[in-house]
């Protein structure tokens, strides 16, 4: 040990006024010299130390988010939005994969055994997002629902964000499965508007009933309609142009009702 810090050097170091080379030299010395650490301690500004400790605590304590949250952040979703989405069961990877697998196996089975693959796919594809949205919020699906109700964050916003996320995460696998297994025709995307209509309708109904029950009710209604038009042979009557216009109307009307009644979600 050939040198020690004096008061002036300690003050300049504590204030961050030293150039990088001299600061590095001082730090190397401080690691080995208790006397100089003692001289420096009273010089260090309290606010700066607190800030440093906060930064260390932030780096050490902050949990590593789950894979879905990480994925969301990766595509640019803000961290607090990612956490609100990550709390919904139907946005967990297990649920998303289960929905995609169920759809895949249903299409494979229907295609191989009966030749009704396209109708089966178009009938089932809208149910996956409807079920997901039904399980994304509400007393039965969100364990902290009651706590959330008493919080100032808009419940309507949470509902819409989760519904949109569920629609995206269930639509992507369904589109891939459809185009991969049932051909390149746009007919395989004919379930999109029905999915939007059923989802928005169940959201409107959830003003009065438990969201999961609403999802179940509109799904049964939908399947009954499909069954009714497919009694003898495969039919795409439910997906005709008139039908699609009907789904569009339901979607728009439901959207207007949702916005008009948004305060009731809180």
């Amino acid at each position: 040990m050939t040198w020690h810090m004096d008061g002036g050097l300690a003050t300049r170091y504590a204030d961050g006024d030293l150039d990088a080379t001299l600061a590095a030299s001082v730090e190397a010395h401080l690691l080995a010299c208790a006397r100089c650490r003692g001289l420096l301690a009273p010089q260090a500004p309290r606010a700066r130390l607190d800030r440093l400790w906060d930064e260390i605590a932030e780096a050490v304590d902050s949990p590593v988010p789950g894979p879905f949250e990480r994925l969301l952040r990766l595509v640019g979703v803000r961290d607090h939005t990612a956490r609100l989405l990550g709390a919904a069961y139907s946005l967990h990877l297990s649920w998303i994969s289960a929905g995609a697998l169920a759809l895949l196996f249903a299409v494979l089975a229907a295609r191989e055994t009966t030749g009704w693959g396209l109708v089966g796919f178009l009938a089932l594809a809208p149910i996956v997002p409807v079920a997901g949205v039904g399980l994304a919020y509400g007393r039965g699906a969100d364990p902290a629902y009651e706590i959330g109700l008493a919080a100032p964050y808009s419940a309507f916003k949470v509902v819409l964000m989760r519904a949109a996320a569920v629609l995206v995460t269930s639509a992507l696998p369904a589109l891939v499965i459809g185009f991969a297994l049932l051909g390149q025709s746009w007919t395989v995307a004919a379930w999109l508007l029905p999915a939007l209509a059923l989802t928005s309708l169940s959201l409107v109904l959830s003003r009065w009933f438990e969201p999961a029950h609403c999802a179940l009710a509109v799904s049964i209604l939908w399947l009954a309609g499909i069954a009714g038009t497919n009694l003898r042979e495969p039919s795409l009557a439910m997906f005709s142009t008139v039908g699609q216009l009907g789904y569009l109307t339901i979607t728009v009307v439901s959207g207007v009702l949702l916005v008009a009644r948004r305060k009731e979600f809180s």
Binding site: P63, P65, R83, P152
Partner: protein, 281 residues
């Protein structure tokens, strides 16, 4: 007064009135809500939490009207429901962080600092990285309290926070709740009469959706003065044999009975009357 309630009514369809013209006030300190099952305690707490809307009557919470200024009230409110649910796959930190987001704390660093502060305040700093599913019931309740403390709320609503806890945990909770009540209004709904005696500056006893008593625990106890006694025989509204072989009774004392100093429990039972005692029995 942080809470002013006048003539509050709330009915649940055919089940009738949960609250039937309730009036009371509460200020800084711990305010106890006592009452038998079905007296309307949880309904009242949910109304104060702005989760329910009343059918009639008026409420002023923190000087504001919840009918028109709900969000402003919610920003200054902490709420622990009777059966708080937790996302069990979340860690303690993640869950409290989740609620902090719902409380509109958007800045990540500031929010995380606040999350660490409340977790530390309830003594869970060592397990903040643990999954909630791995915690004991008492620790989960503390997570519930931690989320209710986010953002330094001025009004804290705790619905049965000590139910089902062992005596050691309950004592820890008492210490925590008394600390919370030092500089803010705490409304504590509970079945634990000892908690009220130990913690509360004021107490409201609910009976059939109305306030049967409002005052200090000392004033409540005074209601049973001269109506609590020891005797050889069973008598009065309610009697039970003590360990010393005599009967401790409440109600109008017979001649020759030895009057004793009442407890808050004696006064509470007297207040509820025979009907409530029969229902409880």
């Amino acid at each position: 007064m942080s809470v002013v309630v006048e003539g509050l009514t709330k009915a649940y369809g055919r089940r009738g009135h949960a609250l039937d013209g309730l009036s009371f006030t509460a200020g800084v300190g711990v305010n106890g809500l006592l009452g038998p099952n079905g007296a309307g305690k949880t309904t009242l707490i949910r109304l104060l939490a702005t989760v329910l809307t009343p059918d009639g009557g008026t409420m002023r919470l923190l000087g504001r009207d919840p009918a028109t200024e709900r969000s402003a009230i919610r920003r200054r409110l902490g709420y622990l429901p009777q059966e708080p649910g937790y996302h069990r796959g979340f860690t303690v930190f993640e869950f409290v962080d989740y609620v902090a987001i719902l409380k509109e704390m958007a800045d990540r660093r500031a929010r995380h600092d606040e999350v660490r502060r409340v977790i530390d305040a309830v003594g869970l700093a060592d397990v903040s990285g643990k999954k909630i599913r791995a915690l004991s019931g008492g620790m989960r309740r503390r997570v519930g309290i931690a989320q209710a403390l986010l953002g330094e709320p001025e009004l804290v609503l705790l619905d049965e926070p000590t139910a089902g806890l062992d005596p050691e945990e309950r004592l820890r909770f008492r210490e925590l709740i008394s600390r919370i009540g030092e500089n803010r209004t705490v409304i504590l709904s509970t079945h634990q009469i000892e908690d009220v005696a130990a913690l509360c500056a004021r107490v409201v006893v609910l009976k059939d959706g109305r306030s049967a008593f409002e005052g200090t625990p000392k004033e409540l106890r005074a209601l049973a003065k001269g109506r609590t006694w020891l005797w050889e025989k069973k008598a009065g509204l309610l009697s039970w044999r003590t360990g010393e072989g005599v009967f401790r009774s409440i109600g109008d004392p017979p001649e020759g009975a030895r009057l004793v100093e009442p407890t808050i429990e004696d006064a509470y039972l007297l207040l509820l009357g025979e009907g409530a005692l029969a229902a409880a029995g």
